[in-house]
Symmetry: C2
Subunit: 488 residues, 2 copies
């Protein structure tokens, strides 16, 4: 893809013109358009697909919000921005951007209210159990705050805020943001526009060119261009160059996450950061995971199984080659109701650990040593190695079982089509921006007229990832980028 | 640092002019200059320091060469390019560049001969033991080929070729390359020149500007500019953006490795890759390491301790947070002659593993479980978990000891000044290039007039690292870059 910029004098005529041009209509683009429009700017949103929504619309819907929102208060949780900030600095690190995390934490209650005013409904009720997405319409959920190491770093409060849908809620967030945006006079949308290059004039970004229905289209931006084009999970070349760990795994998102916004910005001198980072959701039922010993090929545990499952997946894929197994016993397996097992069944069941080691290909005695240490401490309600909560600690007893995470059994059994991998990935690296959404150049200075938000940027999650920091980051910093562009 | 390019019409006059301009006089720059000069080009090498040599001159001196060199043959090793290629694809991966590894392996014997012709002396003798740099002037050493997992992937042959010095040999390599270069009419050197920006004309690179003794200096390159400016270990901003794992550790190299070549090239549209990757040399004596169990904070082993120690360090720092310990017993410690211990002493010595766990802060029973499994198999001469060679396997017996790798005891005891860290790092990420040394742009096409080699590029080691692939890669692909630039 050639993304080299065009000089304005090369453009023979403008097909569209606006004060602020937003590329991409996911949650970041919609939020940017709303704020730019409210600031009085004439706004044009250019979207590649035929309707917009992007990866935001198919997301779980959690927004990481806290510091004492009305929902947190109604559910009896006493939170404040400092505690939220302490949590995010560790969860999004190493190298989490302190200024960004501080700004986000301090502004979180106001951002929650903004979302409510935009029509996003959150129920004042709390789902208490480990999960990816609760099976209810509860408005609040834990995202690792109550597990090690975070419960010792910041006072635990659940901060996963969910639109009231009963399941995935990204579509509802987008529906409401879109309605809010459409209600603003001066905000227009053009779909089916594939942006290809930025247009510059004396170093300043002042438009974009691309293709629409096979024709070249040029768009002039009087004040600035906001990039909200998503990450690069679907660009295999970029994945191999920057995030090789993520290659070969199924992706979470839409195929418009092809990195073109990053490339277009780099072509005018933008800096990127954290390009190797990615989220790797481990495709196992959390209620089974917390009762298991998650072990690697050497039969070793490596994380508290009750922490946010995204962290478990990241650790398993980045640090253990993605070859991991959930070891548990019959009693633990049976204690999870069938709907909580989500179709998972043990890959192997054995009377003894020695037999199980043989089935799993782990040297005799290695898994038994791990289980021995675990059981000794679990009997006392302790997990000094990794800090799993007492609630999930129970010595494992025969018969034992293990689930091969890399070969989900529905796939292995040929029951469903799918890749034989237990991780679903997306990228976290991207453009460097200021907290006001200005894209930063290689020299460290903002690039005049260029703004960005959402997954096209390296945002809140620098290396670690917590659910809700995609939609949370995209809407929060999308708003700031839109406001900054309108003010220019 | 502002590295935005200058347009040629902005340059009022040229201070220097040559067919090929090489920035940086380390092994890559010298090799590029030699080949460009031999091809008949008028060459100017611009060096930032007052004498040149760079990180190459202070390096250990190993060159990764094989496929059947005269030294390998003299020492009785039967190697071929296919086996070398198989090894490097795994050792430099994941995402090792197959075309590059193939080209390097196939050309390795010829490159060895080129180095010999340039006056680099290699003795036809082999050092057999694990080490960073042998204490002898033997010309050949192992670099992990004879240990797991590599010994099962490719037929083991030692490929570490060492200039005959008796210790670090990078200076001798540079001395001979420099003499070879100086003997070529038409190759000149200007020192104390700090390059800052490239000069472009209609998208083509045709020079560079920088500072020398406080004055602006402009240099015209009729055919092309070869970047050989080194990595970015000494640029803290870049490290934090791209390789956060490496932040805070002592660096291997010279402080001219500040990433400016990467930034200058990015400013004209160059692509980078693998920016997170780095080498992390674990600062422990290999002869003690191979006899130890290297464990993390949970008392778990994670690698065969007899593999190339650079791999051990990378695994420890990237995947175990750099908090690791060498556990061994008195008998093993005493079996290493004092000169092989290099001043290392146990941080703790205890009669029982339980006491040792208490001293180390490892939960009771966790280290004992690890040692139990290890001892059971070691007694049979096996290490099924990590594949350490039988030569180093011996059950550990009381009294036990452990060395805290993160706090080298000379430093902890206040005997020597130094950082309390057991890793010495440098960067591996950089510019994308073709195997002919052309710098590749964001669009995937070569940038006209711009070439690069050495640590400024992402070369042979994409993620993994083996000693000798810095000087080997720099000289081999430096030659190709110089030849390509001269041909333009």
């Amino acid at each position: 893809m050639d993304t080299a910029p065009r000089e304005s004098h090369e453009i023979s005529g403008w097909d569209y013109e606006a004060d602020v041009v937003v590329l991409g209509l996911g949650c970041a683009g919609a939020s940017a358009a709303i704020e730019a429009g409210r600031a009085g700017a004439d706004v044009l949103v250019l979207e590649r697909s035929s309707s917009g929504g992007g990866s935001s619309a198919i997301a779980g819907g959690e927004l990481y919000l806290g510091g004492g929102t009305r929902i947190q208060q109604a559910c009896g949780f006493d939170d404040d921005p400092d505690e939220m900030c302490k949590f995010l600095l560790v969860a999004c690190g190493p190298m989490a951007d302190e200024e960004r995390v501080r700004c986000y934490s301090d502004g979180s209650v106001a951002h929650f209210n903004w979302l409510v005013d935009a029509g996003v409904p959150f129920n004042p009720s709390h789902w208490p159990d480990p999960c990816w997405v609760p099976p209810t319409d509860d408005g609040l959920m834990w995202l690792g705050e109550n597990s090690a190491p975070f419960n010792a770093i910041a006072r635990p409060s659940p901060r996963g805020h969910r639109p009231a849908t009963g399941h995935f809620g990204g579509w509802l967030l987008m529906e409401r943001l879109r309605a809010e945006m459409d209600a603003i006079t001066g905000v227009g949308v053009v779909c089916d526009f594939a942006a290809e290059r930025l247009v510059v004039e004396r170093g300043r970004v002042m438009g974009a060119v691309g293709r629409r229905y096979g024709a070249d289209v040029a768009v002039r931006a009087r004040r600035g261009v906001v990039l909200a084009t998503g990450g690069f999970a679907y660009n295999e070349v970029m994945l191999r160059q920057h995030a090789p760990t993520l290659v070969g795994h199924p992706k979470v998102g839409t195929d418009t996450d092809d990195g073109r916004g990053i490339l277009m910005a780099q072509a005018v001198g933008a800096a990127v950061q954290g390009m190797e980072a990615g989220q790797a959701a481990i495709a196992v039922p959390p209620l089974l995971l917390v009762r298991s010993l998650l072990v690697n090929l050497q039969g070793q545990r490596f994380i508290n199984e009750d922490t946010y499952p995204g962290r478990v997946g990241q650790e398993a894929l980045y640090h253990h080659g993605g070859r991991v197994f959930m070891v548990l016993d019959e009693e633990s397996f049976e204690s999870v109701p069938p709907e909580g097992r989500r179709g998972a069944r043990p890959t192997w069941v054995c009377e003894t650990l020695e037999e199980l080691e043989g089935e799993m290909g782990i040297p005799t005695g290695a898994l038994a040593a791990t289980v021995g240490v675990y059981n000794t401490y679990a009997a006392r309600g302790e997990d000094p190695l990794f800090g799993k909560n007492e609630r999930w600690l129970k010595p494992l007893r025969s018969p034992f079982g293990a689930i091969d995470v890399v070969a989900p059994n529905e796939v292995a059994a040929g029951l469903v089509e799918g890749p034989r991998t237990g991780f679903n990935i997306f990228t976290l690296g991207g453009l460097r921006t200021t907290i006001d959404g200005e894209v930063v150049g290689l020299d460290g200075d903002p690039i005049d007229g260029l703004y960005a938000a959402g997954r096209v940027t390296s945002g809140l999650p620098r290396w670690g990832y917590i659910s809700g920091t995609s939609l949370g980051d995209g809407t929060f910093f999308g708003r700031r980028a839109g406001a900054t562009a309108a003010r220019r």
